[in-house]
């Protein structure tokens, strides 16, 4: 099997604020990491390849420093890595990103059998690139998958649903996005880190990808960010003092006053 895993590099901490004057993002620290759900996707790909044989390719779009995330993926056990990197790709929203990734994935050899992604990225939290990628490639999709069985030709996926879980059967190739319930990602071992240095990490520019210029970067993005701001968090807390008994009595009185209590008696 040839399994392709899409990876996004995200800030190691989500503790960011918006500068009230410049409206730019202020990040605490500059460390980056592989989006946690993507690490679960990679782990699932590695396990499938250990069972069925084949190889795992990881692909990402972003600036040159995304090589760090791809090296880490190689250290975990991926065989090849591809970075789609070009100033012309900058400013892409989910649609332009999916289009560009699809262009890269179509170039991979041998043709893919399965594409795995994380269910969403923890920074932008859209979960849209996976389904849009499936659309670009004309493949079926299953998203928010918490358990996966695969025989190489088709897959059975347990996905989150309003009722609890929906079990879908899907022919391969397909795009499957996974949640954290699916597995526990491995840590790279020292030997893996050493081997990763020798594994191929290919960088492709927009020109290499034969893209339609109207469909990439900012130009290919229907959405525009109009404004960044911090959520309002004004504290209006009323502290209830006294012994636990006194505070508890005050609280119950307040809640009754707010018509929030419908006491249902003892156990």
């Amino acid at each position: 099997m040839h399994i392709v895993v899409c990876i996004k590099q995200v800030p190691a901490t989500l503790d960011v604020r918006v500068d009230p004057v410049t409206h730019n993002l202020i990040r605490e620290g500059t460390e980056s990491t592989i989006n946690s759900f993507d690490a679960h996707a990679l782990e699932e790909a590695l396990r499938l390849c250990e069972r069925f044989g084949g190889k795992v390719s990881v692909i990402s779009m972003g600036p040159p420093q995304v090589k760090d995330a791809l090296r880490k993926a190689l250290a975990m056990g991926a065989d090849e890595a591809y970075l789609l990197c070009d100033r012309a790709l900058g400013g892409a929203d989910t649609l332009a990103t999916a289009y560009t990734l699809a262009k890269g994935i179509k170039r991979l050899l041998p043709p893919y059998d399965l594409i795995l992604c994380g269910r969403h990225a923890v920074d932008a939290d859209t979960g849209q690139v996976g389904p849009m990628l499936a659309e670009e490639l004309g493949l079926p999709q299953v998203t928010m998958v918490k358990k996966l069985e695969c025989d190489g030709k088709s897959a059975v996926a347990w996905r989150e649903s309003a009722e609890g879980t929906a079990v879908w059967e899907v022919p391969l190739p397909a795009v499957i996005t996974v949640g954290s319930e699916i597995n526990t990602p491995r840590y790279p071992k020292p030997i893996g880190i050493m081997r990763a240095a020798k594994k191929p990490l290919t960088v492709w520019t927009a020109q290499d990808l034969d893209v339609d210029e109207d469909k990439i970067g900012l130009k290919g993005s229907p959405t525009r960010v109009a404004r960044l701001f911090s959520p309002e968090r004004v504290s209006h807390v009323e502290m209830l003092s006294g012994d636990p008994e006194v505070a508890a009595a005050t609280l119950v009185r307040k809640l009754k006053g707010n018509k929030l209590l419908q006491v249902q008696g003892g156990c």
Binding site: A124, Q128, E163, R224, P231, M239, D243, K254, Q264
Partner: protein, 327 residues
């Protein structure tokens, strides 16, 4: 005049609870631009639900019925929806940011090559009639306003339970229009083998009026059981932050926050919860938040309506006593 569409979500033939607020929001958007609200209802035998959609605020119900649409699957639903949108060109298409909506919306937006904003917390029309979509980012640390200037329709998924539930106007009528459904074999390659209904209290979290939640500060599985008593006494359900789940005091399905559920009860009682942003993002829509924590400087107090500084092991029994619920 703008036509605003809402894609109705059904599960097992019932309108999904967490998406009914969309009708109220669509209604108020339509009012501000003198527009109309259209419901798209897909399923096998869902015609009886059209009256409910009218009562919630739809002017028109587009009814797409086919046995192949009985259970939600991405591709047949995408085919029907993109066909309808392509033919009728609504200005705005809204879906719930549920496991169904967040699967379907990007597939549809991808096929139509239009813009889509995920998990919106607010939607307004600006002076030019452009939809301004507010979505959280970086675990709700940052809010982003997104617009779709040139592409149509403007699409968004909306976080459940964010907007108030519209009042149902029984007897309000809508034009119901049955549309034809044409599916190709390639739309039907995915099969739903089984729907596993997990009838547990956890699934009620998102709809609960009262939630009693515990964090690391509960200290032990035994103390955590105190929450059950308090929840019972208040007619509510129990929830948790991540540490109790990691400790095995409670199942992961009860986790509230960034990697868990988003809740919006009338009363949320936070017991031994410090108030890390990863959790508070899931509770911000609660009407009244009570925080009980022995650390007076815990950030949870910044979110709370009422705060009690004290040990949960003392305060919860005192509360039970006060509520007339013996320990």
């Amino acid at each position: 005049m703008q036509d605003i569409w809402v894609v109705a979500e059904t599960n097992c033939g019932v309108l999904a609870g967490g998406t009914l607020e969309l009708w109220g929001k669509a209604r108020s958007l339509a009012q501000s631009c003198d527009g109309t609200v259209t419901a798209v209802l897909l399923g096998a035998d869902v015609a009886p639900l059209a009256a409910q959609l009218a009562a919630y605020g739809a002017d028109t119900v587009l009814l797409a019925q086919d046995p192949e649409l009985a259970q939600y699957r991405t591709l047949p639903y995408t085919a029907v929806l993109t066909e309808l949108i392509g033919a009728r060109k609504p200005a705005i298409v809204l879906l719930g940011a549920t496991s169904q909506g967040r699967d379907l919306a990007p597939r549809v937006a991808g096929r139509l090559r239009t813009g889509l904003t995920a998990d919106c917390l607010e939607l307004i029309l600006d002076r030019d009639g452009l939809l301004v979509q507010t979505k959280p980012s970086y675990g709700d640390n940052v809010m982003v306003d997104i617009v779709i200037p040139e592409h149509r329709p403007q699409m968004a998924t909306v976080r459940p339970h964010v907007f108030p539930l519209p009042e149902k106007q029984e007897g309000r009528s809508a034009k119901v229009e049955e549309v034809s459904v044409e599916l190709e074999a390639s739309d039907l390659t995915t099969r739903v083998r089984e729907i596993i209904v997990e009838e547990q209290q956890a699934s009620k979290l998102e709809e609960a009026d009262v939630i009693v939640a515990g964090g690391r500060g509960m200290g032990s599985r035994e103390n955590f059981a105190l929450l059950e008593k308090l929840a019972h006494a208040l007619g509510g359900v129990v929830g948790a932050t991540r540490p109790p789940v990691d400790e095995g005091w409670i199942d992961a399905a009860y986790q509230i926050g960034q990697s868990g559920k988003t809740v919006a009860p009338k009363l949320f009682i936070a017991c031994g919860i410090s108030g890390a942003v990863q959790h508070t993002v899931g509770i911000e829509k609660s009407k009244v938040i009570v925080a009980i924590n022995k650390d007076a400087s815990a950030p949870i107090f910044n979110f709370a309506t009422y705060g009690i500084v004290g040990d949960v092991r003392d305060v919860i029994p005192a509360l039970l006593q006060e509520l007339g619920a013996s320990e």
